[in-house]
């Protein structure tokens, strides 16, 4: 099996405009037009939320904005669907703890 096959090679995608976002402070490379979830997947990151009750890790599941499992805190704003949200240069993605509104004390 060819080791060099990749999604980008398959569709002939080439872009020189890769940029950096961060996940919990560490740098992650993203491509223009990629969702936050796709950029994280490409970096081998599958979880960016811990659940409200069990504190279990979650990430993208349905991939089309229906399941809300991929909620992330993006630039300080919680509950954003990472599978829909385009990554932008400098975005700071942080693992969302529970409902993401700890500051409300509820």
């Amino acid at each position: 099996m060819a080791r060099d096959r990749s999604p980008a090679a398959l569709v002939g995608a080439a872009t020189d405009d890769a940029f950096e976002i961060t996940f919990d402070g560490r740098p992650v490379t993203a491509l223009p037009g990629q969702s936050v979830a796709a950029a994280l997947w490409a970096a081998g990151i599958l979880a960016w939320r811990s659940t409200r009750v069990g504190g279990r890790p979650r990430g993208a599941f349905c991939g089309i904005g229906q399941c809300y499992d991929c909620l992330a805190t993006v630039n300080g704003r919680p509950n954003r669907r990472a599978c829909l949200l385009p990554a932008r240069p400098g975005d700071a993605i942080t693992t969302q703890e529970g409902h993401g509104h700890a500051e409300l004390g509820v």
């Binding site: 569709v11 995608a13 491509l31 990430g59 509950n79 954003r80």
Partner: protein
């Protein structure tokens, strides 16, 4: 062999994030046939000019309907959650990714390209990044409809929009049906359609070694795509038995194109060394914080796992799904009549020319029953012809391959094929035996199978709604889209073995007054006292 026709087509589901402009926060906007209204137009003020037709969903059905109606002289607004047309079936990379061969991930690209050319030539107002949350009768204009939408890639820009139209075509597509099993909430377990969507639109894979499992023809298409994109696919695990197709030769032989497409997938899987294991299911996912392996068990005819048949397969991701569920919230909210489909989901009851039971509201594609992109094109076109005829007071007309008679005949053939396929892949009654009491069934509210069984056995719940009231299963962010089918089955099983063994339990109808979560600020922007948005619907939790 099956085909990939039901490969997550449809357009209304929230979709790709690309190319949605950053909108500065505004009070809201109304759109008319001349294009966007002034940015400063107050949302909820007098409605501007109205369209003849609002189409919701820019997948194959919605595109075909919008283009056909526009070519017949109607003014058309096409609203879609995604930044790009195509729906789930024709998801493709954002232009920013610079893909020179987007068709490499599609088998039927020319049909889409042709439709895009017609769209470019037509005067359709394409409103991308519009997440429609309700459609209501216009409070101050008899016979017209108000389509309310949130905007932005994530639907949370502070700028709702409203489109008024004389007719509405619902082409909201479908989402994937899921059945839970131990470990399915571990990171690395993803929807089969989800894996396909992330690959098609953003060129991302969930892992390097991906098992594909569940039931339905989509699995073969997903496995072929993943393998072509460089993932290893150690197995495709299909719960039903493809021998079922041999018992329905009539519907199959009437669709040679679909058989040829299935052969293409089959050949691709062979080339990549992918093994198809039928009448089997993943009954356990292993790993602490992410997928490390799965156990695949043989199933009996009822889909009960055969004891001692489990075999472990190492992998770092699992793509899973059990067919598609029509996305009906907007239609159900309008009071459209639904029907049971052969695989236990609900679909809209439609007239011979695609009209729902509510005059003025039409539907095409998966909303009328999952049937794939060719059926969606056909129905969209038929609906476009019929709506134009109604609004212009003329007889339904079209020529040659686009005559109503030809379209209706093609529709009947494709529906028969889809029904045969759905029957083969319908969940068997024994699948709940995959669950242990600790398995989470509701992913949002983290409700286990044990708690649902307790609600059923000890507290007498007999339907999904009662289970929800007792346990919160189905009450979270996704509003039961992921767990609804499972919860309905578990509740119905309490109604005695005969009922549980019978064809299908009664799933809860798709009643979600708000089709997507709406922030209070968006509701507050509906400042008319008579505004429909302030009446019945209530904001979701959180």
């Amino acid at each position: 062999m099956p085909n990939s026709a039901s490969e997550a087509p449809g357009g209304g589901a929230d979709s790709a994030p690309e190319a949605v402009p950053d909108a500065a926060p505004e009070d809201g906007a109304e759109y008319g046939p001349e294009g966007r209204a002034d940015d400063g137009a107050a949302y909820g003020a007098e409605c501007g000019p109205e369209y003849d037709l609002a189409v919701i969903g820019a997948g194959p059905a919605g595109l075909a309907g919008a283009v056909t109606a526009s070519e017949l002289g109607l003014s058309v607004a096409l609203l879609d959650a995604s930044g790009q047309p195509g729906g789930q079936y024709y998801r493709h990379p954002s232009p920013a990714l610079g893909a020179t061969r987007p068709e490499a991930l599609h088998h039927n690209w020319p049909a889409f390209a042709a439709l895009l050319r017609r769209l470019a030539a037509a005067e359709v107002t394409h409103l991308a990044g519009h997440h429609v949350w309700t459609v209501v009768a216009a409070p101050d204009a008899a016979g017209s409809w108000d389509v309310h939408a949130l905007t932005g890639a994530n639907g949370d820009e502070d700028r709702p929009g409203r489109v008024r139209a004389r007719a509405v075509l619902l082409a909201t597509g479908a989402y994937e049906r899921q059945l839970p099993f131990p470990g399915w909430t571990l990171p690395g377990v993803v929807g089969a359609g989800g894996a396909q969507a992330m690959l098609k639109s953003a060129l991302a894979l969930p892992g390097r070694r991906v098992v594909v499992a569940g039931s339905g023809p989509l699995l073969l298409a997903v496995a072929a795509s993943l393998a072509a994109a460089g993932a290893r696919v150690p197995a495709v695990v299909e719960a039903s038995d493809y021998l079922g197709y041999a018992r329905r030769p009539g519907a199959l032989l009437s669709q040679p194109a679909k058989l040829a497409e299935a052969a293409v997938h089959g050949a691709a899987l062979l080339r990549h060394g992918v093994r198809l294991r039928t009448r089997s299911a993943v009954t356990q996912v292993h790993g602490s914080d992410r997928v490390e392996a799965v156990t695949v068990s043989r199933l009996d005819r009822q889909w009960r796992p055969v004891r001692g048949s489990g075999r472990r397969i190492a992998c770092d991701a699992l793509a899973v799904g059990h067919g598609l569920v029509p996305q009906l919230e907007l239609a159900v909210g309008l009071g459209c009549t639904t029907r049971r489909t052969v695989d236990g989901t609900h679909a809209l009851e439609l007239g011979p020319l695609q009209e729902t039971s509510v005059p003025g509201i039409w539907a095409a594609g998966e909303t009328g029953g999952v049937g794939g992109f060719q059926l969606a094109f056909t129905e969209g076109e038929l609906a476009g012809l019929a709506i134009a005829a109604r609004l212009r007071g003329r007889a339904v007309a079209g020529e040659g391959r686009r005559s109503p008679r030809v379209l209706r005949r093609r529709r009947a053939r494709l529906r028969a094929f889809a029904d045969a396929m759905a029957a083969v892949h319908a969940p068997g009654p024994g699948w709940p035996q995959w669950l242990d009491d600790a398995t989470e069934v509701c992913r949002c509210e983290e409700v286990t199978a044990g708690r649902i069984r307790e609600a059923v056995a000890d507290y007498g719940a007999r339907d999904a709604r009662t289970v929800k009231l007792l346990t919160r299963a189905g009450m979270g962010w996704c509003q039961g889209r992921m767990c609804g089918a499972a919860v309905a089955c578990l509740a119905a099983q309490a109604q005695g073995p005969r009922r549980a063994q019978g064809a299908q339990p009664e799933p809860s109808p798709e009643r979600r007054p708000l089709a997507v979560p709406v922030r209070l600020g968006a509701l507050a922007a509906l400042d008319e006292p008579n505004s429909p948005g302030t009446a019945e619907p209530k904001p979701t939790e959180r």
